[in-house]
């Protein structure tokens, strides 16, 4: 039990030194850390927003809207494919309802040909189908979503959304956001040091789907006011409409979407000197824009952002070269925000903020300062007490405890873990468990001495008999920590992580390492008496 071969002593010392070395970057002031980072990697613990101050925003995607969008895209591709098929296949009575797309193939004999045309559209790269195809009454084709298709679509949409948000926040400048997907349809955005998240929310909450649509100039204004449109048209909100009516009717077809942009910049309208946004299409988008403007000179076209018309200027001449200007009721800030959103692309799904927390930097700083103060005083008190009660063995326990704290910090740094307030609770519990392990051992040694054992034997028995209780106590804590990690949400997980790391390091330092020191001391001095 007390026999430590030399190689084991070496190994334990190396583990100790490496473990503590990893804590160094987290303890240095950020300036020194930056200097150190030029020479060696500096893994650092992140402070949770509750300690560091900052904003936490939880976004949730509207999944029903995603399937609607998929259905719409499917209809588009099916219509185009049928038109382009050679010979053309006429379809009629197209309807989208209950997540299904169905239509009649006018010529019964062409149903099989239509199927052939559709198959490549609904198959994906992995060989499975995103949509199931069925035929009703001989000529009605029904496409219903395959469940795997919905999941993949959501998964891809969320990945894209995450990238888009990342680009948008980065455009704001020096922030260091953490953006992670959570569960199926959520994204967490955390920005340390940002206490007024209004600008951020305005930026990430917008879908930024830009479309250009032709205005239905034949529409009856009375009908439009009631929200009714002719066949082939739709009514959209238009809050800044110069006619005073907050709606406008636009043609469903013949427009183009603004997702093929290479550039978007805030600018000023040369005529009115008001803030505006210039956009530049890529070559394909530019050609389509040129074609649309060429065919519709002197007509009005509506610039639609997220389903709302922001302006409806007249096409005075065809626009070649793919550069256009969007004017509307912009301020400098909103023009800037819109250009950032357009540059980073539209969100593939609408995201809603379901949870938001912001902590002011003063409160966070106060929490850290007082938290650290309390930790230092509390730990010192424990160290003094342990020394007073157990003397030399208390000193061993104390050094082990300090090393334990450093090692927890080190492991957390390497794992890039986040320290939150509940994490501090985990720390307290861990320190308690580490102290308790040494108390158990030392009390047991006392008992064994009292029973008349000789010093070396008493120490051996002390470690051996106490180990059982230490093992059981720590096992139960591990079980609790794992369950908490599985079932808990954010802050509780922070607690669980610290607990898991702490249990491992505290058993290592409080049991293995103190035993090594004790054994070295015993070997060196061959004590016949022990005050403990």
């Amino acid at each position: 039990m007390l026999d430590f071969p030399r190689w084991r002593i070496w190994m334990l010392n190396i583990v100790l030194i490496v473990g503590m070395a990893f804590a160094i970057p987290s303890l240095l002031p950020s300036q020194m850390r930056a200097q150190l980072a030029q020479f060696v990697p500096t893994p650092t613990i992140n402070l949770g927003l509750d300690l560091a101050g900052g904003s936490h925003i939880l976004l949730e995607a509207d999944t029903s809207q995603l399937s609607e969008a998929r259905l719409e895209a499917l209809e588009d591709s099916v219509r185009t494919a049928m038109r382009r098929a050679n010979p053309q296949i006429a379809i009629a009575d197209v309807s989208r309802s209950e997540g299904q797309l169905s239509f009649n193939v006018t010529d019964m004999s062409k149903v099989d040909a239509a199927r052939e045309v559709i198959l490549p559209i609904i198959s994906n790269a992995t060989g499975t189908r995103d949509w199931n195809i069925g035929v009703n009454n001989g000529n009605r084709i029904i496409l219903s979503p395959a469940s795997s298709g919905d999941e993949t679509a959501l998964d891809q949409a969320m990945d894209t959304a995450k990238d888009v948000i990342d680009r948008r926040i980065n455009a704001l400048g020096t922030l260091e956001p953490t953006i992670i997907r959570q569960g199926e349809n959520r994204i967490v955005v955390q920005v340390p040091g940002l206490d007024d998240p209004e600008a951020l929310k305005a930026l990430i909450g917008k879908t930024a789907k830009l479309e250009f649509k032709l205005v239905d100039e034949q529409a009856d204004p009375d009908q439009t006011a009631q929200g009714k449109a002719r066949v082939g048209s739709q009514v959209l909100p238009y809050p800044d409409n110069p006619t005073g009516l907050p709606y406008i009717a636009v043609r469903r077809l013949g427009g183009i979407s603004g997702d093929k942009l290479v550039k978007a910049d805030p600018t000023f309208d040369p005529q009115t000197n008001e803030p505006a946004v210039t956009i530049q299409f890529d070559s394909e988008g530019g050609q389509r824009f040129a074609r649309m403007t060429q065919q519709n000179v002197n007509k009005l076209f509506a610039i639609v952002l997220d389903g709302q018309v922001i302006s409806a200027p007249q096409i005075r001449e065809p626009i070649f070269g793919g550069v256009s200007q969007i004017s509307g009721n912009f301020t400098t800030e909103s023009a800037n925000a819109l250009s950032i959103s357009l540059r980073s692309g539209a969100l593939p799904v609408d995201l809603t903020i379901v949870e938001e927390r912001s902590v002011g930097p003063d409160l966070g700083a106060d929490s850290i300062r007082r938290g650290v103060l309390a930790a230092v005083i509390g730990t010192t008190a424990i160290l003094v007490l342990m020394f007073l009660v157990y003397g030399r063995f208390g000193m061993y326990a104390n050094i082990a405890l300090v090393i334990n704290i450093l090692m927890i910090l080190g492991v957390m740094g390497v794992a890039n873990a986040t320290l939150t307030l509940p994490g501090i609770a985990g720390f307290v519990l861990t320190i308690g468990a580490a102290v308790d392990a040494n108390v158990l051992i030392n009390e047991r040694i006392r008992e064994e001495l009292k029973r008349g054992r000789r010093v070396v034997q008493a120490i051996e028995f002390g470690y051996k008999e106490a180990s059982r209780a230490i093992f059981d106590a720590n096992s139960t804590n591990v079980i609790a920590a794992v369950l908490l990690f599985i079932f808990g949400s954010g802050p509780i997980r922070g607690f669980a992580v610290v607990l898991m790391i702490g249990i491992v390091t505290s058993v290592f330092t409080a049991v293995t390492i103190t035993r090594m020191w004790v054994s070295l001391w015993v070997k060196r001095t061959r004590p016949t008496e022990l005050t403990i």
Partner: protein, 329 residues
């Protein structure tokens, strides 16, 4: 060097003598806690019921104008606010329900926060907004159910472990004392009206961890003594075990209380409730290991027959029983 002794050697306190009384008082307190939670309710934070919480400090004032705030914020047309001091006298938290329809349209929640903060700033130029939390109904329901689930899973998981490592009676004793500790802590929060949020769940988990640690240590000693003194009466055996581990129990409780007392006195205001919960839990957890977890073993008829000693143990024990014999009272 003369070392400090917190507990005198060879204590022989008849702890178990008061077991029926202690159990009755515990049951009474637990019933009171359940009653308090049922009638007075817990002061749930926005984490668990949804809504918006704004924290503010009036940097130039000694105390926060709570009554006046209640009127100004109440007159904004969003319903009556819950306003509470937290931490220092000049710090408040203002809690509101989210406006109707805010689940669909987060702009409404934003607008409300904006209106409240600007009305605060208008009336009090020295106000500092320390944080805004908005939690939608859906998310708060999730946080609540996940918190409860985590708590139950942890309690069940560790009890099952104890059952496997010891005997089923020990598992029952462990889970009973955990239920005891958690219930009393709930009662404390219902009684004081301290805010109950996610951090308090973390505190409860710490209490569970600590209380269990304590229980395991005593159980381990009980098991050891059951195998050692095969003929001793159960009550005396429990007393012996509690007394033998008493020095350790006191030492550990004192050690762990030290940082907690410091946290309560000097720690950040935001975690006052949290630190108090843990400090309370240490006391209750220590008590429950002695007066709940142990006597249950008598009532569940645990005896030396519960453990069959292994050869290895009997070998070393036989020698020790002889050595200990004189030391026994």
């Amino acid at each position: 060097m003369k070392l400090l002794k917190l507990v005198r050697d060879d204590t022989n306190i008849d702890f178990l003598r008061w077991r029926v009384w202690a159990f009755a008082i515990s049951l009474l307190l637990m019933a009171a806690s359940v009653g308090l939670v049922a009638t007075k309710g817990l002061n749930f934070g926005v984490d668990f019921i949804g809504g918006q919480m704004i924290r503010a400090t009036f940097t130039q004032s000694a105390t926060a104008p709570v009554t006046e705030l209640r009127e100004t914020v109440g007159s904004l047309g969003y319903g009556d606010p819950t306003i509470q001091r937290f931490g220092a006298e000049n710090q408040v938290s203002i809690r509101m329900k989210l406006p109707e329809g805010a689940d669909k349209n987060p702009e409404l929640a934003n607008a409300m926060a904006e209106k409240i903060t600007s009305s605060l700033k208008a009336g009090h130029p020295d106000v500092r907004i320390d944080g805004v939390d908005s939690v939608s109904g859906k998310v708060s329901e999730e946080l609540f159910s996940k918190g409860v689930l985590a708590l139950l899973a942890a309690m069940a998981g560790v009890s099952i472990y104890i059952w496997f490592r010891f005997e089923w009676q020990f598992g029952v004793g462990a889970i009973w004392s955990l239920v005891h500790d958690v219930t009393l802590t709930f009662g404390l929060f219902a009684l004081t009206g301290w805010e109950f949020d996610l951090n308090i769940i973390a505190a409860l988990l710490t209490i569970i961890g600590y209380s269990l640690n304590d229980t395991v240590v005593i159980y381990d000693r009980i098991r050891e003594n059951l195998m050692k003194f095969r003929k001793m009466e159960m009550a005396s055996l429990l007393n012996l075990s509690v007394n033998e581990t008493l020095s350790r129990t006191v030492m550990t409780s004192v050690s762990i209380s030290l940082p907690l007392i410091v946290l309560v006195l000097f720690g950040p205001d935001v975690i006052f409730g949290f630190s108090m919960a843990m400090a309370f839990g240490i006391v209750v957890g220590t008590y429950s290991s002695i007066y709940q977890a142990s006597p249950i073993l008598i009532w569940l008829k645990v005896g030396s027959h519960s453990f069959v000693p292994t050869d290895e143990v009997t070998g070393s024990k036989a020698e020790r029983i002889g050595a200990d014999f004189g030391a026994q009272p």
